[in-house]
Symmetry: C2
Subunit: 352 residues, 2 copies
C-alpha cells in the first residue's frame, strides 16, 4: 500500500481508501462487471442458479472487543459469519459489500487489516468486494457486511424443511469458540498474561478463525439429502429453536451425543464448568445443524467424509407437540431454551 | 402491530421484531423465494437482466440528527439514498437488506417507524425487505442498507462512459436539501421556533423526502442515450469530480445554467448567501447528473418530459487536460473542487 504509516480515514479519504482496496483486493470474478466505485455494482447472475443474499452487523462492545482481538481478527470473524450464512444454504459465495463507521483516529493501516481479515475469511474462493460505504464514527466501530452467493436453482437448504422422523446432525465440535473467547477475555484482564497451552491455542483459534462449512453445505444441497439447515451463530439451543419455529417441528437432542473437543473437555474440567452448557449456548462456532431422513444416514456420513468434516448424529426431529427436549444422563431430561436448557423439574416455561 | 407501547428491542427481541416487520412489510415480489428470517434470502434473477447491488451507511451524528429528524425521516432518507443509487444506474429496485444497531432504550415503535420510512422511500415499487441484522448499540444509531436492483443486460449507466463533447445534464433543482437542512438545524436550536413559510416547507421537504429519479434513469438506460450517470449525494462539485475521475475527462459547468428553485433563491437572498455555492456543494439532493451526445439533446428533453422531471443542460464534457471548470458571470471562471470551487486567481491546486 502506498499510504503513509500515519494515515487515518480523515487524511486518506473514502476514495483514497477505495483506491487502496482495489489494489489489495483486486476483482477476480467474471460475474462482476463493475465492482466497487460506481453507484452500484453490476453482476451477471450465473445461469441456472438462484442468488443468495444475507447481511450481518458487527458492533464494537457488542460483538467484538479490541482489548483481545485485532481488527484483522474482527474482519475474519465478520467475514466468516457471512460466508457461513451462504454455507448454511448450500451455496457458494460470490461477492461482498462492506459498510463501516470508524472513529477518525483509527489508522488507515488498521482499516486495511480489517479488510484483510474479511478477505481471508473468504478462503480460496473468488469472492469480490463490490461495494460498501465508509464513514467516520462518533463512537465505536460499526461493521455491516452483505454477502451474495449462488445456488443451483431450487436447491437451497432452508430452515423450514425439517420433518418429524428426520435425524439431526451437526458438523465439527461445539462450544470451542465460546471457551476461546472466555480464555481471551481472562487474559486481557491480566497485567502479565501467561502463554497459551496447546489446548488453549486451539480454543482461541476456534473463536478467532472460525471455518465456514462450505464444502459439506454444498454437497448436501447438490445431493438433495438435507431437509433443513441452519448455521450455529447464536448457539445450538437457540438456533435449533429457530429451526423448530420455521419447520413447525419438535426436537430431541441427546446430550451425550454432542461433539465436544478434548480441549473443551479439559478446559471445562479445570474450571469446573459444564462443557454441555458451552456446547448448547456457545455461539460463533459457525458449525452447521441440519436434518436428513434416516434412510440417508450413510449418504450423510459419506458426504461428510469426502468434505473432510466430522458430522455427528445428535438427536432426532419430533412432532411439534413433543416440544424441544434435551436428554441427559441417568434418564433425566430438560427443555431446550434459547440460553441453554432447563430441567423439567424447575417447571418454568420453556420459551420466553 | 401487536407490540405493547412500551416495548424496546430488548423486550421484543430481534425475532419478535422480524415477526412484526413481516406483517408491516409483507413480501410481494415473485422473485423472492425466501425472504427475511432464514440464513439468507433466495432470489430468482429476472431473465435477461443483470443485477445491481449497492450499500449505504447512515450514522447518527454524522448523517442524521434526531434533534430535527424523526426516525421515520431518517429511514426515508436512507431508503431514498439507496434507491437513488439504483436510479443512477438506470435500474429498478428489487429488494433491501437493513442492518442496524440501536440503543436498548429506543422504543420498538420508533424502530418500526424507521422501517416505515425506508419502505415509503421505495415508493410504489414492489421492493421486498429480504434480510438484515438488528443489534443493540452501546452508543448511537447505526444504519446500513444494501439494495439489489435489476437492469436489462448491458444497459447499466456507469460513471465511466462520459466522452469529450458530451453535454452535461442534471435533473430537478440543486441545493434545496442543503438549504432545508440549514433551516431545520436553526429551528432545532431555538426554544420557540416559528412556523415555516411555504418556501421553507418546500426546502425542508426536499431534505426530508428526497425523490429518487427512477423514471428518467430507466428511460435513459432503456434508450441507450446517456453515456454516464451518477447521483448527487455528495454535491455537484464533488460528484462531477467522481464522474471525471472514472471517465478520464474534464468538464465545464456554466454557473448561470444551474437549476435553482425560486425558494432556494429567496432563502439565499434573505441570508445573503450564494445560492450557486449551495447548488455545488449541497449533497442529499439525489438528483441525477448524466452526459449524452449533443445529437441526442432533443431525445433527452423528450424522455425528461415523459418522465415528468425537469432536466437542465448545465455544461459540457471536455478533454481531461482542460480540467474541471466553472464559468461565472462577467467572463470569470473557477476550478471545481470537491467542496465547491476556487477562483482561478487564487492559484491554489484544484484537487486535494
Amino acid at each position: 500500500m502506498n499510504a503513509a504509516p500515519g494515515d487515518t480515514l480523515d487524511t486518506v479519504g473514502e476514495f483514497g481508501l477505495i483506491r487502496q482496496l482495489r489494489r489489495q483486493w483486486p476483482a477476480s470474478s467474471p460475474l462482476v462487471r463493475h465492482g466497487i466505485g460506481d453507484d452500484a455494482a453490476v453482476l451477471t447472475p450465473p445461469p441456472g442458479h438462484q442468488l443468495l443474499v444475507s447481511a450481518d452487523a458487527f458492533i464494537e462492545g457488542v460483538h467484538f472487543d479490541r482489548a483481545y482481538e485485532t481488527l484483522r481478527d474482527v474482519g475474519f470473524r465478520a467475514g466468516a459469519a457471512n460466508v457461513s450464512d451462504i454455507a448454511a444454504m448450500g451455496g457458494r459465495p460470490l461477492c461482498l459489500l462492506v459498510s463501516m463507521a470508524v472513529p477518525a483516529r483509527v489508522p488507515a493501516r488498521q482499516i486495511r487489516e480489517l479488510y484483510r481479515g474479511i478477505r481471508d475469511a473468504c478462503g480460496a474462493d473468488a469472492v469480490d468486494l463490490v461495494g460498501g460505504d465508509t464513514s467516520s464514527s462518533p463512537g465505536r466501530i460499526f461493521l455491516a457486511l452483505t454477502i451474495l452467493g449462488a445456488i443451483p436453482a431450487n436447491r437451497a437448504l432452508t430452515r423450514s424443511g425439517a420433518k418429524a422422523g428426520d435425524r439431526l446432525y451437526v458438523t465439527g465440535t461445539l462450544g470451542d469458540a465460546r471457551a476461546g473467547r472466555h480464555i481471551l477475555r481472562a487474559r486481557a484482564r491480566r497485567r502479565h498474561p501467561s502463554g497459551l497451552s496447546a489446548g488453549e491455542t486451539f480454543l482461541t483459534r476456534r473463536h478467532l478463525r472460525p471455518t465456514p462449512r462450505l464444502g459439506i453445505g454444498q454437497a448436501l444441497a447438490a445431493r438433495g439429502v438435507a431437509h433443513a439447515a441452519i448455521d450455529l451463530s447464536d448457539g445450538l439451543s437457540g438456533d435449533a429453536g429457530h429451526l423448530c419455529d420455521s419447520s413447525q417441528v419438535g426436537i430431541e437432542i441427546r446430550g451425550n451425543a454432542l461433539p465436544l473437543s478434548p480441549h473443551l473437555r479439559a478446559f471445562a474440567r479445570r474450571r469446573r464448568l459444564d462443557p454441555v452448557e458451552f456446547a448448547l449456548t456457545g455461539g460463533d462456532d459457525y458449525e452447521l445443524l441440519f436434518t436428513a431422513a434416516a434412510a440417508h444416514h450413510d449418504t450423510v456420513l459419506t458426504l461428510a467424509r469426502r468434505a473432510g468434516v466430522p458430522v455427528a448424529w445428535i438427536g432426532d426431529v419430533t412432532p411439534k407437540r413433543a416440544g424441544r427436549r434435551l436428554l441427559l444422563p441417568q434418564g433425566r431430561a430438560g427443555a431446550l431454551v434459547p440460553n441453554g436448557y432447563r430441567h423439567f423439574a424447575a417447571r418454568r416455561t420453556a420459551r420466553r
